[in-house]
């Protein structure tokens, strides 16, 4: 038997053998029977289904992070080597109110033991082909001997984690439906982010609460920041500190350290493969490892899935078994990851499966494109950025994909890999509505961004109904290479300006960009830019805005680029 894929579900190792497209949300609620993870919208827009996703960097010893992700947008197949923590994995659900009220400490061991029993029992049924039938309530405890308590020494735990305490103390849970997701996101914040209010808000921006108006949630966050402002830097040390503080379960410390949980753990279960008839070792390309992915063939490539699951909220039901067999999950593949500085070619060479968060947080990217850090908050929410990939955002072929606009302005080159490898300029990649210069047998493998040492100015603008976690009505990026030899007035050497949401595809405003060549920055230039740009796009009306609005706001965003990049310049007549 080949080495199976595995992941850790709370404190149980789960082995699986297929590129399963089952949304983790369904697996958690139906197969594991853990109902604390809620379905609020099934498209990543509410955060009620948030779970912790723990990942280790295999190349960097001691590098571990826990992120909050929307489990409705998370394919089970993407969990290889990860630690999935649900709300039940953080604290022991209080069986009765009396217990909850007095918070009797109880032995963690007994919980883990019984829980493991139940999960394993569920796994037996799942493996027998009745996936989804096993719930905690129906599972028969004791049907397997593997449910013995884990090897770590028994310890006692108070029932609530400090995150839960903070929410309680500040009365930040009203109807309670969003609360588990909020607990998860705040826990991820403590695990992987600098401990400031701003980072805390960013961490929970994808968690929608309809009851509280967020006041009490902010106060809970403030309490946590005060309590945990002295944590070590993110990594194993911080995980240890958080386990000691009962923020994270002990399984997190073991995950962070143990390279081979599969071998060391006696708590195991198998996850059946809903896509194939046989539960184990299913046929097809399920066991593809990194070296097996060539040739690509006519596959269904998914990189992240944050768009895919919005379009296919129930892929196991809506896709045929043939289609499911073609699924190849690209995220996490080492050859598609990483941000490398190719100094010889003056390029940033970025793997297309790099996630959006890593891209925006990269010091290399921030250095190459000053101002890009400000664009991060406009891209979806942290829950989505933790999963969305660069390639996925581009290949979804939306005219309003934020990264498409940015890459076009940056003059990115896209490396396409099939039987051979070829390179396409980002602005030539989009050929028509939802039509890409990409064969079904090809994937977008890498993205090459110019990396000039100095003189680059970058700005991204986006208008949406809500500023955060929303799809753009329009967006635009401007990338300027300044002429550094000039005197008093800033002069542009080269410039590129893009626009999304004003045509069937994201476009390079080529005539407008041409105006920028060698131009001195002035109000007159801005006026010409606005005028010329208006002639380069045509707009339509939809729920995000009327055609007139799109045209008018885009004109203003053209000016806003210059307001942002050259703040001392006035746009009003009669002023300097």
């Amino acid at each position: 038997m080949e080495e199976a894929q595995w992941f850790l579900a709370n404190s149980t190792v789960v082995k699986f053998r297929k590129e399963s497209l089952e949304p983790a949300l369904d697996y958690i609620r139906e197969t594991l029977g853990l109902k604390g993870t809620k379905e609020g919208c099934r498209e990543g827009d509410c955060g009620a289904c948030a779970v912790l996703l723990g990942k280790r960097d295999p190349h960097k010893k001691g590098s571990v992070r826990y992120d909050s992700v929307a489990s409705c947008l998370l394919a089970m197949g993407a969990l290889q080597g990860c630690h999935l923590v649900t709300i039940e994995g953080l604290a022991i659900p209080a069986p009765t109110l009396k217990d909850a009220r007095y918070r009797y400490p109880i032995a963690e061991e007994s919980f883990l033991g019984s829980n493991a029993n139940m999960v394993t029992a569920g796994a037996v049924e799942a493996a027998a082909g009745i996936a989804g039938a096993a719930t905690l309530g129906q599972a028969k405890a004791g049907s397997s001997k593997s449910g013995t308590p884990r090897e770590t020494s028994p310890s006692t735990l108070p029932r609530l984690t400090p995150v839960m305490e903070a929410i309680l103390e500040e009365n930040a849970s009203q109807c309670g439906f969003c609360t588990p997701g909020l607990v998860i996101s705040l826990t991820a914040f403590l695990a992987s982010k600098p401990i400031t209010i701003e980072y805390g808000i960013e961490a929970i921006e994808g968690n929608i609460c309809r009851c509280t108006g967020y006041g009490a949630i902010r106060r809970a966050l403030e309490r946590l920041v005060e309590q945990f402002c002295r944590l070590p830097e993110p990594g194993v040390e911080r995980i240890d500190a958080l386990v000691a503080e009962n923020v994270l379960p002990e399984s997190a410390a073991r995950f962070a350290r143990d390279e081979n949980l599969l071998a060391s753990s006696r708590l195991q279960m198998f996850m059946g493969s809903p896509a194939s008839s046989g539960a184990e070792g299913g046929a097809g390309n399920g066991e593809a490892r990194s070296e097996d992915i060539r040739p690509y063939g006519p596959n269904l490539f998914i990189a992240g899935g944050t768009d895919f699951f919005v379009q296919q909220p129930d892929p196991l039901g809506s896709l045929s078994s043939n289609q499911l067999d073609l699924v190849v999950l690209l995220d996490g593949r080492p050859e598609l990851l990483g941000i490398h500085n190719d100094t010889a070619r003056q390029l940033l060479d970025i793997g297309a499966a790099t996630n959006v968060r890593d891209f925006f947080e990269s010091p290399l990217v921030r250095q190459a494109f000053p101002g890009i850090a400000q664009a991060e908050e406009l891209f979806a929410s942290s829950l989505v950025r933790n999963r969305a990939t660069l390639g996925g955002n581009l290949c979804n072929a939306s005219s309003i994909a934020d990264l498409s606009s940015m890459f076009i302005a940056m003059d990115a080159k896209l490396v396409i890999r099939g039987d051979t490898e070829r390179t396409v300029a980002a602005d030539k990649f989009f050929r028509g509505y939802k039509e890409l210069d990409l064969l079904s047998s090809e994937i977008l493998a890498r993205i090459l961004l110019p990396n000039k040492t100095a003189g680059v100015k970058f700005n991204f603008e986006k208008i949406s109904k809500r500023k955060h976690l929303d799809i753009a009505t329009v967006n635009t990026a401007l990338c300027l290479e300044m002429d550094t030899h000039d005197g008093i007035l800033p002069r542009i050497a080269h410039g590129r300006i893009s626009a999304g949401g004003v045509a069937p595809v994201p476009i390079l405003l080529s005539k407008t960009s041409a105006l920028l060549e060698g131009a001195i920055v002035s109000r007159e230039l801005v006026k010409q830019v606005c005028e010329t740009a208006s002639g380069e796009f045509s707009t339509i009306s939809d729920i995000r805005g009327s055609a007139s609005y799109r045209a008018r706001i885009m004109r203003r965003l053209m000016a806003q680029h210059f307001v942002t990049l050259f703040p001392t310049m006035s746009m009003q007549e009669g002023t300097q």
Binding site: P93, G137, G176, R210, G215, K467, I543
Partner: protein, 782 residues
């Protein structure tokens, strides 16, 4: 201490409807709905659906054993359409399958043959054609014509407000089964279990005592589950009745948004006038309520609009008329505020227009016309313990509004690209159901012989923490620790004939009923203690878990007292009942005193407008709120903050779109945006101090709905910021002018909720040409 349920919430242990265990043979129901807004059914073809699941069960109107009618106010809403449907998303049938995902796929394979009929979505068009839910209503006082001749300023205008989707995070649903006891058992996510019971009994031709309805904690309601939960519960019950199996119906988010009602859109014409001293004399309004396709709660909502037509202002001559216009949209329904927000937006728009056209300071104009003690509302009620002015003036002090306004003026003069705006909204909200019979509540309290207490009432816990308040009320009344008290779920066989948990009355009515029951038990215990230990009963009390004699604690603790009373065969259970006293209203004359009391308060909202991008950000909200003697300030703060979020969302952000054919265009959270944490400003809240309210339980005041009205200030803060511009600072470079702006945006659209970024931009670009007279007329500021 927090309510014990919260411990379950934070650990993820709270079970909502979708989390409840179901039996192994449970069937999942998926509604088959109308494919367009108005049509006639010819045939439902399920052949392809049977290919998805050959075992599926298909239930139509023919399977209804009782009356195919769920309308409670007007019998105009079938459970399942038999022939003609009147909105898109109306239920035609249900499919039942053993697997939820399969049931949903099968439903997609159902074909509906039908004839398309003409559609009306605009309430004014419906009114022109005479399509009304019920006869229109008018409330009036004074002499409009005489008063108009005395006015120095009169302004007329048109005001629109849009629909608002509840987005309770837990969608609608129910689980039903016909028990071995011959009873239909329904677990419903409902604010109104008695209505579910009544409707399900009618549909199934059962008696009410044959239908048991239990409501656990809701994952949010906000009015959306007041009238509309009965539909889903009745469908589940019908499925269970036909199949004799457990049936679960739980809508996914898209279905919920598509099929269920929202806050009513209103379109209103107004006329307002004042004398030369700035005192309001006249207000007239004609409200066109878009009621949707069925009656639902539209009449009650309209009456609350009419009652709140003048908001917190005293106006001696008023005529307000409301029309309930029948359109082909899903029946609009209760949503926190219940018609009051729509009316508030009209009068606040009228005040804004009046201030701008007369050159008066809008904040001063509002203050000068606040209602005071002894003023008579336009429906005859006399204002008592009126605190409009004290809230207004305290807000002015607390928020340092004059300093704030000065620094706004300074920063606006300095910064061409960011303009700040400020608006103040006073509130005055009547508490009581406007339908008199609904102002009643019951409770059932048991003291168990170990000293713990179970309190059941008609109140549904949906996050508003009414259980927390009832727990405190019971503990205070009994003189024992809160941890001994458990507030139990709402169940029709425990407390009968309950009113919905709505109209902000949840804690007033049910809290009072709980108090009365606790009081009975306490008196029995004290009587027995007096007899047993030879005390004067009048000297006895219970305090801090202890029997108290003449003010001093005895050695007899609560547990001992209860245990001994039990042995002595004292009744430790009691039913409490409360009917709000003093309510009178003559619906024919539209005159009386329909409210037990009013809630007062005042809010200021500060906004920063980015005039280049045409976007805005609310920076700060200040609130002074009259909560009487608050039962729990943390709970009340949560209600105020949450209400403001929904109010700001409605006024500015939440943009629910239907097309002309009555199809909803924003049916998910990707397109319908509600406030997130970035959207919400800092909110500073102060409770008005030293105030009492003898008219409600423990001298508190209702809290649920009134704070939503504060959000309306956000709309006028944006207008204030737009008016702070001299001209569009980008006019020189963008070359934009009035010709580019669609017609609707210039004058009539000035008062049109929500204030989307698109509307903001229209206003900004209008500034460059001073096309809109109301915008251009900038008020002078002191």
């Amino acid at each position: 201490m927090n309510s014990p349920e919260s411990f379950l919430n934070v650990t993820g242990a709270t079970a909502y409807l979708d989390d409840l265990p179901v039996s192994a043979d449970c069937l999942f129901a998926v509604p088959i709905v109308s494919p367009c807004a108005h049509g006639r059914l010819k045939k439902i073809d399920i052949q392809d659906a049977l290919l998805v699941d050959p075992e599926l069960v298909f239930v139509t109107a023919k399977d209804i054993p009782g009356v195919n009618q769920i309308g409670e106010t007007v019998a105009d809403e079938p459970l399942l359409v038999e022939e003609e449907w009147t909105y898109q998303g109306q239920c035609l049938a249900i499919l039942l399958s053993a697997d939820r995902a399969r049931a949903r796929r099968a439903a997609q394979a159902v074909h509906i043959e039908h004839e398309v009929l003409p559609v009306i979505t605009d309430p004014r068009e419906a009114a022109r054609k005479g399509y009304f839910i019920m006869p229109s209503r008018t409330m009036a006082c004074g002499d409009i014509h005489k008063a108009l001749s005395q006015c120095a300023f009169v302004v007329e205008g048109c005001v629109d407000s849009g629909a608002q989707e509840h987005i309770y995070l837990e969608t609608q649903g129910a689980i039903a089964h016909l028990g071995g006891d011959g009873k239909m058992h329904i677990t419903s996510s409902s604010q109104s279990p008695s209505q579910v019971q009544h409707v399900a009994a009618r549909v199934l031709d059962l008696w009410m005592n044959e239908v048991e309805v239990e409501v656990l904690r809701l994952g949010g309601g906000f009015g959306g589950k007041e009238d509309q939960a009965a539909l889903w519960a009745s469908l589940a019950a019908l499925g269970a009745y036909r199949t004799r199996k457990q049936v679960k119906l739980y809508l996914d988010r898209r279905s919920d948004i598509r099929y269920t009602g929202k806050r009513h859109p209103y379109s209103t014409d107004f006329r307002i006038g004042m004398d030369a001293q700035g005192k309001l004399l006249v207000f007239e309004a004609e409200y066109f309520q878009n009621s949707g396709a069925c009656c639902d709660l539209s009449p009650a909502i309209l009456s609350r609009s009419l009652f709140h037509a003048t908001a917190a202002y005293h106006i001696p001559n008023v005529t307000v008329t409301g029309h309930m216009c029948r359109t082909n949209l899903p029946p609009f329904t209760a949503f926190r505020g219940f018609g009051a927000p729509q009316a508030y937006f009209v009068i606040e728009s009228a005040m804004d227009a009046l201030a701008r056209s007369s050159g008066r300071d809008p904040i001063e104009l509002r203050r000068n016309n606040l209602r005071q003690d002894g003023d008579v509302f336009h429906f005859g009620q006399k204002a008592e313990s009126c605190r409009a002015l004290s809230c207004f003036d305290r807000l002015n002090e607390m928020a340092h509004l004059s300093t704030v306004r000065k620094s706004i003026a300074e920063s606006n003069a300095r910064n061409p690209h960011i303009k700040h705006g400020l608006a103040v909204t006073p509130i005055c909200f009547g508490v009581s159901f406007t339908k008199l019979q609904m102002n009643q509540g019951g409770s059932l309290v048991h003291v168990y012989h170990d000293g713990t207490v179970s309190v059941a009432t008609g109140a549904v816990e949906m996050g508003q923490q009414v259980a927390r308040k009832i727990q405190k009320i019971a503990a205070t009344t009994l003189g024992i620790d809160e941890s001994r008290i458990r507030v139990d779920s709402t169940r029709s066989s425990t407390v009968a004939n309950t009113s919905p948990t709505a109209a902000s009355t949840g804690s007033d009515i049910n809290g009072m009923a709980a108090m009365l029951a606790c009081e009975q038990i306490k008196q029995r215990l004290l009587q027995w203690a007096a007899d047993n230990w030879k005390y004067e009963k009048s000297d006895l009390g219970i305090n801090q878990d202890c029997l108290v004699h003449a003010g001093a604690a005895t050695r007899i603790g609560w547990e001992e007292l209860v245990a001994k009373a039990y042995v002595a065969r004292i009744d430790l259970s009691a039913h409490g009942f409360y009917a709000t006293p003093g309510l009178v209203y003559d619906a024919k004359k539209e005159w009386g005193a329909p409210f037990a009391y009013h809630v007062y308060g005042c809010a200021a909202v500060l906004v920063a407008l980015d005039v280049v991008r045409g976007t805005y950000h609310f920076e700060k909200v200040w609130v002074v709120h009259d909560s009487g003697k608050s039962i729990d300030e943390k709970v009340d703060i949560g209600q105020i903050e949450g209400g403001i979020a929904q109010g700001l969302g409605w006024a500015a952000l939440e943009d629910l779109c239907y097309d002309a054919q009555g199809k909803i265009l924003t049916d998910n959270l990707a397109t319908y945006k509600i406030p997130d944490i970035h959207f919400m400003p800092e909110i500073e809240i102060e409770f008005l101090s030293g105030v009492d309210n003898p008219r409600a339980v423990l001298h508190s005041k209702a809290i649920g709905e009134p704070p939503l009205l504060y959000g309306i200030a956000g709309y006028f803060a944006i207008l204030d910021a737009v008016r702070a511009m001299d001209a569009d600072p980008l006019a020189a470079v963008t070359g934009s002018g009035p010709l580019d702006i669609p017609e609707r945006s210039t004058a009539s659209g000035l008062y049109s909720i929500p204030m989307t970024s698109e509307k903001v931009l229209d206003l900004i670009e209008t500034m460059s040409c001073r096309a809109a007279p109301l915008l251009a007329g900038k008020a002078s500021r002191s």
